[in-house]
Point group: D2
Chain length 468, copies 4
């Protein structure tokens, strides 16, 4: 069955029919399509366009069709070009001509936009929840190893000692920003297009606010032409997904280094590594490599869809059918990554000796400079003095703390015997007690600040009261 055309005699080029068909992917929207249709039938009844009996027949019929789909018993037909058609066709078979009243005042244009929004409205809390699980795993690592030090890196060069917990939390904060973006985008997503008809609004007295409430939307669209053209919510989702992907790729990159033989800072639970088909000794961090790579895929979906939208005329254009596949794939990709990574992070084992072994003394050069600053030497001068000292120590093959005081004094008279106390990684970390710093109390405060945000929910979003 087609939902259009005067006669069944008209035949399409089969290749075109295949290109045109969205059923292979949009069938995934059947629960949303049926929920939307049930709400629409009730709205038609309230508007006097269906009798209560007709409405009941349609709702019961749709429930039956849904049961068939849930059970995998629904038989799709070659001519079902999309899920909307398939469901309406089956409804017609089940309940007869009254099914023909369901599409009154509605168009596939507002219907499909409603379906996809409903789908994402269900996805939102799932992603939010999984992001939080990964944050929790990072926090658990931080708490379990609160006093473990490791080198912090810039330019992949050892820079200054930091807490391992601080490194864990850095990644958690990035994910928390992703949750914030989800929360903010939700009210825009949860805006009901239904009732916009093909483009100009429906001519029947539908209660759109009631429809929105029934379907869980927070507000209704203000312009019917915009409502059927607008796919900002898709682009915005794909952007948030790409940002999550980028954050996971950065976490993965750090962990790929840290689990290499050369760093050896962390070992992964064997449940998250694979072997080689050729080399018996290998333990490959495939999960991390995939986490790094999937960012590319997610960026690709974002760009691909922005390119689809670029230069598109207003109103519904078939180009918009390209919205579903990237959404589904991005949802599945995030779901897979965010199911694996919390377990991987929770079970990974930091290796204290390897971390401590990497805290060579030159990493404390800043401490020496700050020591001089505290003695009143301008930082630039202190910096130059310490640079020379570091060069001396490298030239002599002696660690900084092995340089005798008189050698240090040759570089600057302000050095005194308390200088050796500055060359302690623990003390260096503790000196960063400023808010945001790597000192223990600061890190503990960080954890509390992060946990406090977990209690914010999507529901408590500031715009959630918008609908009256």
């Amino acid at each position: 069955m087609r939902l259009w055309g005067a006669s069944t005699s008209r035949s399409l080029d089969p290749a075109f029919e295949r290109l045109n068909a969205s059923l292979p992917f949009d069938r995934r929207l059947y629960p949303q399509d049926i929920r939307g249709s049930i709400a629409w039938a009730r709205a038609l009844a309230r508007a006097g366009l269906l009798t209560l009996g007709e409405c009941d027949a349609i709702v019961t019929g749709l429930d039956a069709v849904k049961a068939e789909l849930d059970a995998g018993a629904f038989v799709f037909q070659f001519t079902d070009e999309d899920i909307h058609t398939a469901i309406e066709r089956r409804l017609m078979e089940c309940i007869g001509p009254v099914a023909g009243k369901l599409h009154t005042g509605r168009s596939r244009n507002d219907q499909v936009a409603t379906d996809l929004r409903l789908f994402l409205m269900e996805v939102w809390p799932q992603i939010d929840h999984r992001l939080r699980e990964l944050e929790e795993a990072l926090v658990a690592q931080a708490q379990a190893h609160i006093d473990l030090l490791m080198p912090g890196y810039t330019h992949l060069q050892r820079a200054q000692p930091i807490r391992y917990a601080h490194w864990c939390l850095a990644h958690a904060w990035a994910l928390e920003r992703d949750r914030e973006r989800l929360r903010e985008a939700y009210p825009r997503l949860a805006t009901l297009p239904l009732g916009s008809g093909a483009l100009s609004g429906t001519p029947f007295p539908i209660d759109r606010e009631g429809l929105a409430r029934e379907l869980g939307f927070l507000s209704i669209s203000h312009n019917s032409l915009d409502a059927v053209s607008d796919r900002d919510f898709v682009a915005e989702f794909l952007f948030i997904a790409a940002m999550i992907g980028v954050h996971l790729s950065r976490l993965a990159e750090d962990l790929i280094f840290f689990t290499s033989a050369e760093f050896g800072f962390i070992t992964l639970d064997p449940a998250y590594t694979t072997g080689s088909s050729l080399m018996p000794q290998k333990r490959n961090p495939d999960a991390l490599e995939l986490a790094r790579a999937k960012a590319g895929r997610l960026v690709g979906h974002l760009v691909g869809f922005l390119t689809v939208l670029k230069g598109l005329p207003s109103g519904y254009n078939k180009d918009l059918q390209e919205d579903k596949e990237p959404v589904f794939d991005a949802v599945d990709t995030l779901e897979m990554l965010l199911t694996v990574l919390p377990g991987l992070v929770r079970t990974m084992q930091p290796q204290p000796e390897r971390m401590r072994g990497a805290l060579e003394e030159t990493i404390l050069a800043t401490e020496l400079a700050d020591y001089l600053v505290r003695k009143g030497i301008p930082f630039r001068d202190a910096y130059r003095v310490v640079s020379e000292l570091v060069e001396e120590s490298l030239r002599e093959g002696r660690s900084l703390s092995a340089l005798p005081l008189e050698v240090m004094r040759r570089y600057h008279p302000a050095f005194d015997s308390d200088v050796y106390g500055a060359l302690d990684p623990e003390a260096a970390a503790e000196r960063r007690s400023i808010s945001g710093g790597t000192g223990r109390a600061a890190v503990e405060a960080q954890i509390r600040a992060l946990q406090a945000r977990w209690n914010r929910s999507l529901q408590a979003s500031p715009c959630s009261q918008e609908i009256k």
Copy 2:
């Protein structure tokens, strides 16, 4: 001068020096860099690391350096690798060794992140304002021609009559979503990284909340390692810019059609078209074509930067230096487009006769189907009947309203003499009085709803109270 290295004797490969230098583009950040340094000097003084006299000398010196830069009198040197170095070098020349105290406890890593955030914090209200100007121009068109009808299009085929005002407003709502995104992203942008040092926090007792207040930030970063690695605010800006670009490209595409000879719906003021170097008769809508094309450029910047971030280790990496050029270019691109388009829209002239001429009767076929629905015919049957009627009318070369009632009745007995009243575009539009529809009252309500949003300001953002 370089800010690093024990001796000036060390020489770099000149080609590398050129690759490495960011001065050619980051000099644009000098006002922000100097503001940040003044606030930092004061924070150092409050922390007891500078005497009041030293602080005054530094602040006065920085003011003088800024005056030189403002006046174009600042002489850059070959060895100034970035704007931070250039300013500190000049400060040293102006006020002597005390300048060497300014960089105490600070790193270029937290400094440059602060500068770029300050820059965008100034850009934000400007873009917001220009978006609103374009919305105002669209609303002005809508109000001036509130009763003008035109065909609404789907698939670039005439679909149903809509108000020209409705078309104008559809584009305005898209821009309003862009303003919403700006408003929401602002608190994330206005988060102070300064005080994070190179990566582990500053070891001196700096009052970061005070710094934030002085510089206009809304909150302070929670993790120093994240603070120097985080460029989400750049990616988020580039995404918002790309979405604005996409919206402008869609508006431009509509207008390019509408101003073509074939549509002829709108004429542009000659101040916004150009001629041809070869063809004397041409009036080319270059401004619109550029508006359409610039979306590509903005999408390119977004993708380029996400690709830079993908797989980047945490901590500062030089890769992040690639953040500035796309930001500057996106800002300039938006600024140019959003300066031109409000004027173009305000001065464009809709052509009522051409619009009316395009409202051929088949555009009212939905009205006939809805007519039958009101008589109790299921929509699917009504649809089929009208499809056949349309085919008859095309076959006979007669308009729908020229079909005699008995012909109509041959297709369905429910047709009655009041059917001809359904075939009126004005009435068709007025029937869409539902909220979001193209009926006059609905459109007027839309305008009020949009205007109500204009009063929301960036400042009133829900998170703006976050800083204590």
Copy 3:
């Protein structure tokens, strides 16, 4: 079965197993995987690592496995992580322990690169062929309507008269460049990685040239580390696909305009349009809109994969597993589009009256300027004179040819009575007899030049003799 790990006791996190599994998509490579394994078995036999009997057993077993896969009778198991594993596992079940000799000296790293190259080597001539079919359809249109004139557009404004055939051929030449790119990239694609082992080469005396010949490769890779890391051939394919997509999107955009009611230049065969679910009168050019939109998807795949490759260490990394899905989807997308569009183009009907009706006289303004040039007036002066004439004609509401000679002479004395002959679209087109121009003979020469290129084949590629 896993191809790695000492014991089956080791258990993976099921979520990770799902993330890691490539079987859901790489099963598509089974014909190539089996072809590659058969060739490998024979190479092992020639190298003395298999007896002829063992080799026969393996080859016969692989044929049997292939027959199962062809028939859909192959039963995949939960633990088959990829198609290579599944096939080797089944082979083991079929022929016993000798199957364990097949993987000698081979790694999945060189195996999978070989499979994917083989897959694309089969795809290449198919795409090439379909591109040519679309060119043929465009040429058929050109030939059938060789004398039909229409306005040529720049900036979507009527510019100068051109042959409809010229417009058809412009799109054909773009596709011909795509075919050229395919042809050039083929030798790089048809480079055999097999024999590279995991990364360092196989330690057994395999005849790689013989392997290449047997599998249809044109040359062998020169560096085993590069051979397992290199995915240039994937990126290059995705670029060619994106370029094809862009070309099809431009053709589609032209046709979407031309089939709109406002242009009315072309009507599509009903086999390539759809109706509306709400509006009975609609004929929507969905095929064209999809052709326009799919460019976005193809660009997305290209970018996504380049982003995967960015910053990837050399050697095989699991990230490379992301190569297959974009390749498969790009192949399917091109295959669908290029199956539909030749039929659509072949059956579309140009509408001569609408085209002629659009050839208003101002489109001939350049002719007037060139007329003056022929009388010795510098072009810039001629241009200015004609601009003023065009303004006069528009002001007076008279066509250019309706302006009396004395009026024209007021603008320039060189106008003479032969000027009216310049105002003929046919003559204007014929004056463009230069090579590449829209004159009839030039267009016919174009067609011959294009057809001459069709005889070049992928096989005759200049590099095809590279293998000795």
Copy 4:
């Protein structure tokens, strides 16, 4: 001066004028624009449209204008909207009204396409040359350290021993593919559009082949409409640039690891590293990080421009003006990177002890398996046996070669006293003497094969004879 418009009285919105102006970036094309104009003047003379005297005057005038531009003495005016206008305006000032004859039969549409192609035709051999310089530097490293072994990595885990030379050459081969792509794309680039007029061809008898020869083009375009619309050569250049960027990012990533303290395989010459503004001990590989990051920028340019092209109508559209900036930036980016990296690579120092130290024995596990294969054990069985041996050795904390023969025999009776000979990295590498392998002779053959390709030139391209 504007090249269009009847009167100077018409005023543009200044903001639009700024948006529209391409002079700020297209001025870079002045040498190409003047070369093209000189050739055009001569072609007009040969066609009888200019007298020899007029032609001489124009050519001399253009030379003078070029001299002004070369000397930086050319004064641009506010109304010069692009470089073409600026040059023609100045020519008019210099030689009077005869300058007005230069634009005869030409349009900016074919002129600007010619200019940009000429620009890239000059860029091509420069990039080709620099790529080769980087290959030479890699080959020089390979030759200087032909016997140095290091671990080869897959999944960033130590996999098998390879020659350092093999690793160097892997990157060289990737660059060689880039050179191949340049060579192949050149004939498409070197196709002359001039003579296409605005879109339909020039009506004057211009000798286009002669023009092509004079300007160094290899062929002429076949369709004037395509010629002014076609920007494939831009997209193709941006793709090649993005691929080069990706290759450099992978080389950079390897080197960033290898120069980290943890790997310590390579030290960079201090001329290619920088220090930290805060941490005196740092040696940061900024050049490598920028090389990694610039891939993002180049990918961004590619995507941005493909997005511009997507859905663009045929004929010239102002959107195409967006072609120049990404081209210029990509050229400059490549030029900078490819000037720095050859020196960096040439001067870097491999650290033999660190490399050797990383060749722990488990890296030779594959050798043990292959040892058993040589004794007739099926590879899968051998693999399992060795996996168990590796586990035993790790459990016992003994290296593989420290396991007594009787222990080995407990795992498989085929082990014999010659097994210890298999555990030698040098021998393992030498066993890979197959073509493409890491054996010494194979690596030397690789170097010869690569060098042989250097002699191929852009000129010797198979299509270079195409023009008659």
